[in-house]
Every structure is written in structure tokens, then in C-alpha cells.
């Protein structure tokens, strides 16, 4: 009995050690991936159904641009700084992408529908890039879209501001893949080149 143990003990221990190391390695790698996806999983689900009106009067929903990578930014035309900055970066990213830009659809959704009528929006987005689609709607429709994207927006009373208010709002560019799933985000501080780089990777994934 004793000799049996001594003969097989070492290889068994060695085998167990190897298995242990193998499991640890797999766990480590999977663990990292799990951690990576966990950080995405812990975020609330971004995106959802919406029905809005484009500047040409047509109805646009969350399904309209399936098959394209959507860049969705919520803002308002009375915003002199952050919104033009974000839209500039988006326009720059489209330019940097060249022909691949046709796989991308930028949307600018107003959180100030009272002032941002179809005409106002049309004039506004055109200045940045003709490919950007401006979307407006009734306050309820806007609220539904903003809700789906977890976008916070609220008027900030300012005596000097036109009509007495500015808008505080979430300033994030949401990147939705061709299936309409949220895959990445930019801020108004992300540069055009950084956006283009990220978009190239996304486009390459599905090509």
C-alpha cells in the first residue's frame, strides 16, 4: 500500500499542479474578459425604441438606420460651445473615414424641441455636415428617446440667455452597431481622429 502511494503520489501531485495552473490561466484570461464585459453589463441598457421627426418631415425610429452604425448625440441649437464641438468632431470623423463613412449614420436629437423646430434644426446640422440627420418631436417623443438613452436634460434658468434659459444635458455620443446595440461612446472632448479610429474598428468587424 505504501509503495503504491509513493509511486503514484508524485505524478498525481504534478498532474494536479499542472491542472491547477491551467485552470488559473484560463480563469485569468476569462476573468479578464468577464471583467471587461462586466463593466459593460453593469451599465444600464442603452438604447431603445423611439419615434421622432426628421427635418424633412419623415418619421425616424430606432429601426430606420439598422444596418448602419449610428452616432447619436442629444443637444440643442442654442448651445454655443459643447454641441458645436461634438458635431464638429463627428463631422471631422466622417471626413477622416472617407468612403467608409457611408456605413455611419449620425443623428442629432434635440432636447429643446420648443425652440428647435424642423427648420431651425435643418439649418443647424447642415453647417456641420449634410449627412447629420436632425431629429425633433413632441416633448413626449423627445422624452421617450432621451429615456431610452438615459439622457438627462433640464432647463437652466439664466436671465441673460435667449428666452431666459439654457439647457443642461448629457453630452455623450452613443455608438450603436448595425443591429442597434450600444457598443461605444464618445464625449464632446473626443477628437475626430479618435472617433474615426474607433469607428474603423467597428466597421472592420462587420465587413
Amino acid at each position: 500500500m505504501r509503495s503504491f502511494r509513493r509511486l503514484y503520489a508524485l505524478p498525481i501531485v504534478a498532474a494536479l499542479c499542472l491542472l491547477g495552473v491551467a485552470f488559473a490561466a484560463m480563469w485569468w484570461r476569462e476573468g479578464r474578459e468577464m471583467l471587461d464585459s462586466a463593466s459593460k453589463v453593469t451599465m444600464p441598457a442603452i438604447g431603445g425604441p423611439f419615434t421622432l421627426t426628421a427635418t424633412d418631415g419623415s418619421k425616424v425610429t430606432d429601426q430606420t438606420y439598422r444596418g448602419k452604425i449610428e452616432l447619436i448625440y442629444f443637444g440643442y441649437t442654442y448651445c454655443p460651445d459643447a454641441c458645436p464641438t461634438a458635431l464638429n468632431e463627428i463631422a471631422g470623423a466622417l471626413a477622416a473615414l472617407g468612403p467608409s463613412a457611408e456605413r455611419v449614420q449620425p443623428l442629432f436629437i434635440t432636447i429643446d424641441p420648443a425652440r428647435d423646430t424642423r427648420k431651425v434644426l435643418a439649418d443647424y446640422v447642415r453647417a456641420f455636415d449634410p449627412r447629420i440627420v436632425g431629429l425633433t418631436g413632441t416633448p413626449d417623443e423627445i422624452a421617450a428617446a432621451a429615456n431610452a438613452y438615459r439622457v438627462y436634460y433640464a432647463p437652466y434658468k439664466s436671465a441673460d440667455a435667449p428666452d431666459g434659459y439654457l439647457m443642461d444635458h448629457t453630452s455623450i455620443v452613443y455608438v450603436m452597431n448595425e443591429q442597434g446595440r450600444f457598443v461605444a461612446s464618445f464625449t464632446h472632448e473626443t477628437t475626430a481622429d479618435q472617433m474615426a479610429e474607433r469607428l474603423r474598428k467597428l466597421i472592420a468587424k462587420t465587413s
Binding site: T77, Y78, C79, P80, D81, A82, P84, T85, N88, A91, G92, A95, A96, K119, V120, D123, Y124, V125, R126, A127, F128, Y152, Y156, S158, D160, A161, P162, L166, D168, H169, T170, S171, I172, T187, H188, E189, T191, A192, D193
Partner: protein, 156 residues
């Protein structure tokens, strides 16, 4: 005798203060604005302020014939939420330039008299607590500009 001494000291101090005020100069560099997208009622002017004196100064007001109102605002981002807030009188410290740029400090023009067109020059009057009134000319860049004299689409 005492009264004269006090009076003299008073005048001396005033003179010295006045002299000191004159050495606190502000230099304004690279004033620029973006062309406004059609129909926009607000615009932003950016510039760099350099306090050449040795005491902090404050920008207390701005005016321009191009707009009914002009105020310094700053863009603050908290948890992804962008908020634009008036700064009130803005301190300009000596040494480090105070830079107004997209996403940060900007002079917000409200009640625009007309659209800002690329190539246009806008006259602004900046009033500082110590340095007094300064006239500045801002150049309007394209709507896609991220900096003065920059081409659209380029990083700053």
C-alpha cells in the same frame, strides 16, 4: 504737522497704487469665434488672456456691437452631463495664461444681431477691474473650427 504728514502719506500711497495699477496690464491673444450655424441665436468667442502684471486682475464685463449680451461662461461636465454656467467676474492670475477654448471658458454672445460669418471680424470690449477697458478684435473662423486659424477637421 502730523496732519500734513498723514495727508502726504495718503497722497503718496494713492500715487503708488495708481502707478502699480498701470503696471498690471492684460494682453489678449488669439481672439476667435466660430461661424454660427444658420439661425443660431448664440455664439462663442474664445481667446487667451495673459496678465502681465504681478497682481491678479478680474474680467468683469464684456460688450460687443455684434450681440445684445456677452458674458463669460464655462462648460462644466459632471457625470457626462454638460452644464454651461456664467462665471461671474473671472479672475486672471499673473503668469499662467487663462485660455478660453471649446469645452471650457468662452464668451457667450446672446441676442446675436446677425449670423457670424467666416472671415468676419467682431469688435469686443473687455473690462478688467484693474487694467480697465480693452478693445479686442475676434476673427470668425468656420463653423468647424477648433482653434484660431485652424482648418476644419483638424485637432487643436
Amino acid at each position: 504737522m502730523r496732519k500734513m504728514f498723514v495727508l502726504a502719506a495718503f497722497f503718496l500711497l494713492t500715487g503708488v497704487s495708481l502707478a502699480a495699477a498701470q503696471t498690471s496690464g492684460i494682453e489678449v491673444q488669439k481672439a476667435w469665434a466660430r461661424a454660427t450655424p444658420g439661425g443660431a441665436k448664440t455664439a462663442a468667442v474664445y481667446l487667451t488672456l495673459i496678465n502681465k502684471g504681478n497682481a491678479p486682475d478680474r474680467l468683469v464685463s464684456v460688450s460687443t456691437p455684434a450681440a445684445g449680451m456677452a458674458d463669460v461662461h464655462t462648460t462644466v461636465t459632471e457625470n457626462g452631463v454638460m452644464k454651461m454656467r456664467p462665471t461671474g467676474p473671472l479672475e486672471v492670475k499673473p503668469g499662467t495664461p487663462t485660455v478660453f477654448k471649446p469645452g471650457g471658458y468662452h464668451i457667450m454672445l446672446m441676442d446675436l444681431k446677425g449670423p457670424l460669418v467666416a472671415g468676419q471680424k467682431i469688435a469686443l470690449s473687455l473690462t478688467f477691474e484693474k487694467a480697465g477697458k480693452m478693445d479686442v478684435t475676434a476673427t470668425v473662423e468656420k463653423a468647424g473650427a477648433m482653434g484660431p486659424g485652424a482648418m476644419p477637421g483638424m485637432k487643436m
